[in-house]
């Protein structure tokens, strides 16, 4: 599903990458690596760790391009999903304590959507996202932010906010549904 404001990418890019076309891969790298790196950096907050995740994800895309199915999402969604999962796995395995400390800081600080994105496409996206984030309740926004950017599980979010598990699950679910509808993401 194409998202307005994203880097244009030829429809057959992934097919060409799957066939071993390194020029097509370079074009794909240029299109998706800022989103991959930005995602990893947002979660890990460490440029070296983020660069490692970016490298892992881009090489994984090369290895598995023939398995990409456009019906299941854009190449960027695919790449960003991989980046987030790897970043979160890294946070949980290596940096659990640091993240909890960071989450405590995040909770007391409004998330700044204005200064986080360096890329033009990211700025457009950040603008749309800020608008849509405004449509969430404060508690939904808090739970989604702690989970996505803080790398916390919903259990950790619940613990952190001293809230019941079903409450946090609902906040995350309702928050993502509102975001999905506001962003116009369709399936």
């Amino acid at each position: 599903m194409p998202v307005p404001g994203t880097h244009p990418l030829a429809d057959d890019t992934l097919d060409r990458v799957a066939a071993g076309d390194q020029d097509a891969f370079a074009a794909l790298y240029d299109a998706v690596s800022p989103a991959v790196h930005g995602t990893a950096l947002a979660v890990l907050r460490d440029p070296d760790h983020a660069a490692e995740v970016t490298q892992e994800v881009m090489v994984e895309i090369w290895r598995t391009a023939s398995r990409y199915d456009r019906r299941l999402g854009s190449p960027r969604t695919w790449a960003t999903t991989m980046a987030h999962r790897r970043a979160v796995d890294r946070v949980r395995s290596v940096q659990a304590q640091r993240t909890r400390d960071q989450a405590a800081l995040d909770r007391d600080r409004p998330v700044d959507y204005d200064h986080v994105a360096e890329q033009v496409e990211g700025r457009l996206e950040a603008e749309r996202l800020r608008h849509c984030m405004d449509g969430l309740t404060d508690t939904q926004r808090e739970s989604v932010t702690l989970a996505y950017y803080g790398g916390l599980s919903y259990r950790e979010v619940a613990e952190d906010l001293d809230a019941a598990l079903p409450t946090i699950k609902s906040r995350i679910r309702d928050g993502l549904i509102r975001l999905r509808d506001c962003l116009g993401v369709t399936r």
Partner: protein, 255 residues
């Protein structure tokens, strides 16, 4: 509300906010419920915007490192399912493919290679795709079971080769039948099918056509006779009387 209700956990799963056992439970549920997988894809696309909104170009040196790494890797093992026999290099259109008499080792190897290659990819990928990979693995396993069964026939021979368009073809041939299986192959395209040809005295005899099941297919033929070759081409739906395209793979028995 069950703590493991997959539907209940889907949004949290999409932003990686679940524990490993919950992740596995959600992904198993998605494998059995396309509607759930579809909803998950919407959540994943939403989550991707959260990440993309933070886009930051990686260091320029990283681009060089990644391009160098993929150049070294070439087309890696995660991408193309390795042939069942020894590497056969059958990208040459008429290249003779490696073939072996079936033995216990070969059997197990075919099955292991086919199923493991598909599963390995499933594990490496994010989960919506994993759902589809799981389905493909199940289908590949069913095809592998039939190969194993036919290999038990007296005189059975195993042939394999890579398709020029990607993927691997495996054929078990006996004195009077052949079972042709393919894994990891490309969709032939709208209005197109794969067609099997029995190559007899150098003449292609038209046989069955098929679309894809998952990312593979399987064709049985009783038109095969000992000594015949086999070929696959992409043809218009309904098949052709004579090949209209170059074969994507040719499988020849050992003399």
């Amino acid at each position: 509300m069950s703590p493991h209700d997959p539907h209940d956990l889907l949004a949290a799963w999409a932003i990686d906010a679940v524990d490993p056992d919950e992740r596995a439970a959600v992904e198993r549920a998605m494998a059995e419920d396309p509607a759930l997988a579809d909803e998950a894809a919407g959540f994943l696309a939403t989550a991707a915007v959260l990440g993309a909104a933070r886009s930051v170009a990686p260091p320029p040196s990283l681009r060089d490192r990644v391009l160098a790494e993929i150049d070294t890797l070439g087309r890696g093992p995660g991408d193309v399912i390795p042939p069942a026999g020894r590497s056969s290099g059958s990208r040459r259109p008429s290249g003779r493919t490696d073939a072996r008499r079936p033995g216990g080792r070969t059997f197990r190897r075919v099955r292991t290679v086919l199923v493991a290659a598909v599963l390995a990819v499933a594990i490496a990928l994010p989960s919506v795709t994993a759902w589809q990979q799981h389905q493909r693995a199940v289908q590949a396993e069913a095809r592998a079971d039939r190969i194993t069964a036919l290999l038990a026939s007296p005189g059975a021979e195993l042939l394999s080769g890579d398709l020029t368009s990607g993927g691997t073809a495996t054929a078990v041939v006996t004195d009077d039948a052949a079972l042709v299986s393919a894994e990891g192959v490309a969709d032939p395209g709208d209005g197109k099918v794969y067609q099997l040809w029995v190559m007899r005295d150098g003449v292609p005899v038209p046989d069955a056509t098929t679309g894809l099941t998952g990312d593979g297919f399987q064709i049985d033929t009783t038109a095969y006779r000992a000594g015949d070759g086999l070929a696959l081409t992409v043809e218009p739906a309904g098949g052709s009387d004579a090949p209209t395209t170059d074969p994507v793979v040719v499988l020849l028995p050992t003399a």
